[in-house]
Each structure stands twice: as C-alpha cells, then as structure tokens.
Point group: C2
Chain length 299, copies 2
C-alpha cells in the first residue's frame, strides 16, 4: 500500500485549520477546508491524497489536482459514460482508460448489456487507494466479475491488444506527465483501430473557459482521426472553469440522431445529472465553446 | 465618490502577494491572486472593491463576493438578457432591477426595439464605481439616451410606479441583506402587476449545486405568482458551483415554444455565449436541477 501517512491526530484534538488550494496557472483556483487527511502517499507516477471535506465528503487529489469528490463526482462519471453507452446499440465490451477511482467503471457496470469492462490504469497505487478509501463511492466496482483490471500504460497496452471494443472511455488525468500521450493523434488512431463497427470513443477534453487552446487542439486531433466528433459539456463544480468538455467520437453513429430516447426509460437507471432530454442538449454549445470545435453552427 | 482607497504602492514596488478568497459557508470557495486594488470603499449598503486580476481582468466585488469579472461576465449578462428579449415579440420598455455594474444594461441596449431601459439600483455608489472603473466593460451603458437610471430600492420603487414593462430583469445580488426582499412572493406579485400582456420576467436564481434549498424555494414562490416559470442554466466560472440558474417567467409566453430561431440571426448580434441553438437547450435541465423546480420531466 506504499507510504500511508496516518493523520497524526485524534478527532478530539481538532480544531485544526488546514486549507487545500487547487490552483491553476492563471493564479486562481479553488480552496477547500480539509477536516481530515485520510491518506497521503507518493506512487511511481504522482502524489496521491485523499481528503475529507465537511460538505464535499471524500476527495481524491492526484498531483495536487482534484480528481473527484463524493458530492459532485456523479456529474463527471455519468456524463463520460452514458451518452456513449446509450447511443451504441448493444454495448458489450467496454474499455476504460485511466479512471483509477473506479467510478466510471461503476457507471459502465449499470448497463446490463456489458459483459466485459476492461480498465487500463497506469498507476496501481491509485486503484489500491480507491479500494481502501473510496469503496462506498465506487460501489466496489473493481470486484464485479465482468471487470478485467489491467495495470499498464494504456498507450503501450493498446499496441499489444487485439481485442475490439464497443465503447472506449478515456477517463484520464490532465495532459501533462503520463497522461499527455493519451491526447496525441497516434493514441487516437490506436483507439479507432480497436473500435468495432458501431464503436464509440468518449473522452474528457478539459475546460473550454480556462484552457481554450488545449481544448481546440485536442478536438482538432480527434477530427483528424474519427469520422464523427462532437463536443459536449457538463457543469462540474470542482473542476476548473465551470464548463467542462467531453468528446463523443465514432465510426459513424451520431450522438443525437442515433439516440433513442426510450432506451433510457427502458433501462430505468436512476441518474442524478444525465437524463434522456439532457442527452441532446448537452451537445448544443455556447458560442465560445463551439468556436473551439470544427463543428459548424446551424444558425 | 466616497472613500476611494488609492493603492499605496507604485507598480515598480511589486511583487506583492495578495490573495482574495471568495468563500462559501460550506468551507470552500474560489481564490484569486490580486495584482492591484483599484478601488475599495464602503457604501451605505455594502463594502465595494474593484480588483485587477492578471487573467480575469477587472473584478467587481460586493460584500466580499464576486459580482463580475471582465473575462467571464459576458456569460451571465447575455444569459439574463437575451432569452427574455428574444422571446418577447417587441420588447420596448425594459426594467432592470439591480445590475449596478451596467453590463445587463449594455446587453439590453443592443436590442434596437428597446426605447426605454430603466434601471433601479439601490446603491448609487456601485453605479459611480462602475462608471469610473468598469466603463470599458459596460460600454458606458449608463450614457445611452434610452436609459433612465433610478437610485432606489426596487421594492419601494414598484409601489409608486404605474408604468408597464415588456421585460423585467432581476439582476440583483444574493438573497441576504438588501436584496432579500427581491426574492419574496410580494415582490414577484408587484413585478407581475407591472408586466404588459406579453410581459416576461427573468431573474437570477442562485446556484443549484451549492444552494439547492434556496433555489427550490425561489422557484416555488415564482410558481405561486407567474403562469409560466422555467428554470434555465449557464456555466459561470466565477460564481459558486459551476451551474448557475435563472428563471424565465411570463404571463403566458413559453421560452421555447414561442421562440423564433430567425429572430437571432435577423438581428445579427454577436454573442459569445448565447446563441439561437443554445436558447432551447439551456432550458433542458440535469436531473439534480430539475428536481428543484416544479417542472415535470418529459421522459
């Protein structure tokens, strides 16, 4: 389990006044009062922290940046998963890239058609931390018999993988350090190679307000590789810039035209952010985000 | 102009390291490195600050909370204005409640049909500060001959006002202190009284993620008064909780059914967030926000 740092205090010894800042290079960011440090460690790839916040609940922090909080993680995890899985006509084989906290896996496993949920996460220590500290959040998703957990660099893994997937979800961290390669054209080509006929690739593509140049470049590369690429947005309070972008990419399926509203009610999933109406509207972009895509306005 | 506090330093004396925290009661918030304090003062109602941030530009801060920043203010101001003004068939007389920074006025005045833009702001000192420090942001909107600026409590003002309005926009601050009354049922009834046949009332209604109980209560009261009430959302990076809500209320006009797409292209407004496609989609709510309204799901 590596170097767990058990908090050197008893609850009775509080109050303490510890604030964690998640800063952006623009000299702004989010700040959180931390009630308890549940875990602090250093893996081969990054620093890993699990904090307890009075309102957000448990927070997973990698390399100093918030990855998820118990209160708002449903937004990101529902939105990276369900638009793709409700458009694919029969999603059976799903590959999750990154996603070490296990929450994307949790959402994938809610689709009964899924027979294989393979997760390729580079940092085994993140998975161990998630198993220990976030099992109530991820619903012990790693223990589902449909899960095949692979600890490897997804870019290397795909070189040796000859399986095909119905849906590939890129739930990776920011494009700096080990995750940078997961935003390269070469990697997108490897993903396309592994997609079946109705294959869909959905990826987190960063914050249009705070990182417009980065978002534009990611979407430009996706357009060079995938026949269909559409940006969609969600509101994520603990990610920078309020507006967070994703890409829906496919061999041909259209995220809106090939979506059948009744699929959602037929499955009867209870979702807290995603719903069948929102499925279409999240692809309608504010002008400032649309300008970062290669999409044409309809008005 | 009150007690202007000229920064006691010369640019040459920097670096200094001043951080401004905009905290919520949940013990979290936003943090900004401030390059210069352009203005600090205390009015009869509140503390007023204008900061210069390296990336956000000028920031107006009232009672310690960010009201607007040069970089992202277009989102809030376009979204409080254009959904209402593009649904009303011929918006001539517009009343703005609050909005002392002058930016909502700027957006209202971009509609050539408008012949009267009356603004009722309680705090004259905010308007003076905006005239001095934010004129490039608000485009000197207060100087437009169509503007009638009234320094008064909007609640009191409406008691003595017998004009009717095509559109009323409530661009007020949070429901604490002087703005609290502007979220009361009594006030909403006064607004309805002043609306013409096709009248529309649009209001900011706080953050569904951070203040769900408050949002639910505001929308419940609106439903008690207005025949049509619909929540819509925008992503505002410098407001709490990523997801920010507004209400579109009317005597009968529906924000989507009575919207004509070509109105937007015919006027040829260049907007950075709002667009004709977004007009419909911003009314489609994530489940967690829909649950705070009295609206029924369609799926």
């Amino acid at each position: 389990m590596g170097n767990i740092n058990k908090p050197p205090f008893d609850d009775a010894l509080t109050p303490w006044d510890l604030w964690y800042k998640d800063l952006e290079p623009q000299q702004l960011g989010n700040i959180y009062k931390i009630q308890r440090v549940l875990y602090s460690g250093e893996s081969e790839y990054q620093r890993i922290d699990v904090f307890e916040h009075g309102w957000l609940g448990r927070m997973l922090v990698l390399y100093g940046a918030v990855m998820m909080t118990e209160r708002d993680e449903f937004i990101y995890h529902e939105m990276i998963t369900h638009p793709a899985l409700f458009v694919h006509p029969d999603p059976r084989r799903v590959l999750v890239i990154g996603g070490g906290d296990g929450c994307t896996l949790r959402e994938v496993l809610r689709h009964p058609s899924v027979t294989l949920a393979r997760q390729v996460e580079i940092d085994g220590q993140v998975v161990e931390v998630a198993r220990e500290w976030l099992s109530e959040v991820n619903g012990n998703s790693f223990d589902d018999p449909r899960v095949d957990l692979v600890i490897d660099d997804a870019n290397t893994f795909l070189d040796g993988d000859d399986g095909t997937y119905d849906v590939v979800l890129s739930d990776c961290s920011d494009p700096l350090g080990p995750a940078e390669v997961l935003f390269e054209k070469d990697f997108f080509e490897k993903v396309l190679d592994r997609l079946g006929d109705h294959g869909i690739f959905a990826a987190q593509t960063e914050s249009p307000m705070f990182y417009p140049d980065q978002v534009r470049e990611i979407h430009r590369r996706l357009h060079q590789v995938f026949p269909v690429v559409r940006m969609y947005l969600a509101h994520i309070p603990t990610y920078p810039g309020a507006m967070y972008s994703f890409a829906f990419c496919s061999r041909g399926l259209d995220p809106v035209g090939d979506f059948h509203h009744e699929r959602v009610s037929d499955l009867g999933l209870e979702t807290k952010y995603y719903n069948a109406d929102l499925h279409g509207s999240c692809f309608v972009l504010p002008t400032c985000a649309r300008e970062l895509t290669c999409e044409r306005p309809t008005d």
